[in-house]
């Protein structure tokens, strides 16, 4: 699923990254626990989370995660956006809950990591 499609389906806003290189992602994972995210073997995924802090962006960097969707209207801080831009991480914000965003994207064909 293209980032542009994720934005459309989740009514999201892009706050870091550009749509010029509209990445195509196959799978997603939803979690607020960075400890769990760091155990994934899968890369190039979308992470859907309610955790909006710098550790989230660091975790995405180390785990080679391509894009993060911040759920339930949690705004990304200026610090987060700066670090995301530095690392080429796509950061999106959606007003939807984790459950709703995950359900919609799953139904539209974005697969689960497991």
């Amino acid at each position: 699923m293209k980032i542009s499609e994720i934005i459309k389906y989740a009514d999201a806003r892009i706050v870091s990254g550009s749509l010029a290189t509209d990445k195509d992602l196959e799978k997603a994972f939803s979690s607020d626990l960075m400890s769990d995210v760091l155990t994934l073997d899968e890369e190039s995924i979308l992470l859907i989370t309610g955790l909006a802090n710098l550790q989230l962006v660091r975790t995405a960097e180390m785990a080679d995660i391509q894009a993060v969707l911040l759920a339930r209207g949690k705004p990304a801080s200026a610090e987060m956006i700066e670090l995301a831009k530095e690392n080429g991480l796509v950061l999106l914000e959606t007003p939807f809950s984790i459950y709703k965003a995950s359900g919609i994207l799953y139904a539209k064909g974005l697969k689960a990591v497991y």
Partner: protein, 138 residues
């Protein structure tokens, strides 16, 4: 030709935990090491950095980037780990509420470090500190 890198970490400072793994990731990328190997190495270093921030008072990361492997030593001054085999068990955690609110404290870190490294040694003295030494082949 080995490259030596060193970083300091302060206890409680989560925004700086990740500086070492981030820098080391850039160095390994420049050396054209494959992405899978880089991920394993930097995830292990990041978990160890977060453990210093979450559980210890201060510490440091020292990395020796060699031709075939990287050797990493993460040492801290802190409370130490009383029972290392218990601490290694997935799910065991003494993390504070603050640490949990930051997205950590699931008790997965040490077992994840074990999973991502080829050699791992943990030494700890109660009330003094902990030293993790690990090596990963590329």
């Amino acid at each position: 030709m080995a490259l030596e890198l060193a970083f300091k970490i302060s206890g409680g400072d989560f925004s700086n935990a990740g500086k070492a793994s981030s820098r080391i990731k850039k160095v390994l990328k420049q050396l054209n090491i494959d992405a899978k190997s880089i991920k394993k190495i930097v995830v292990a270093i990041y978990e160890a950095e977060v453990n210093v921030a979450a559980h210890a008072w201060k510490g440091e990361v020292k990395a020796t980037v060699g031709e075939e492997n990287i050797l990493v030593v993460v040492s801290d001054c802190g409370p130490g780990i009383e029972n290392i085999s218990l601490a290694m068990k997935p799910g065991f955690s003494t993390a504070s509420k603050e640490v949990r609110e930051m997205g950590f404290g699931a008790g997965m870190g040490l077992s994840n470090i074990k999973k991502n490294t080829d050699e791992l040694n943990i030494e700890s003295r109660k009330g003094e500190g902990t030293t993790l030494t690990f090596r990963c082949y590329y």
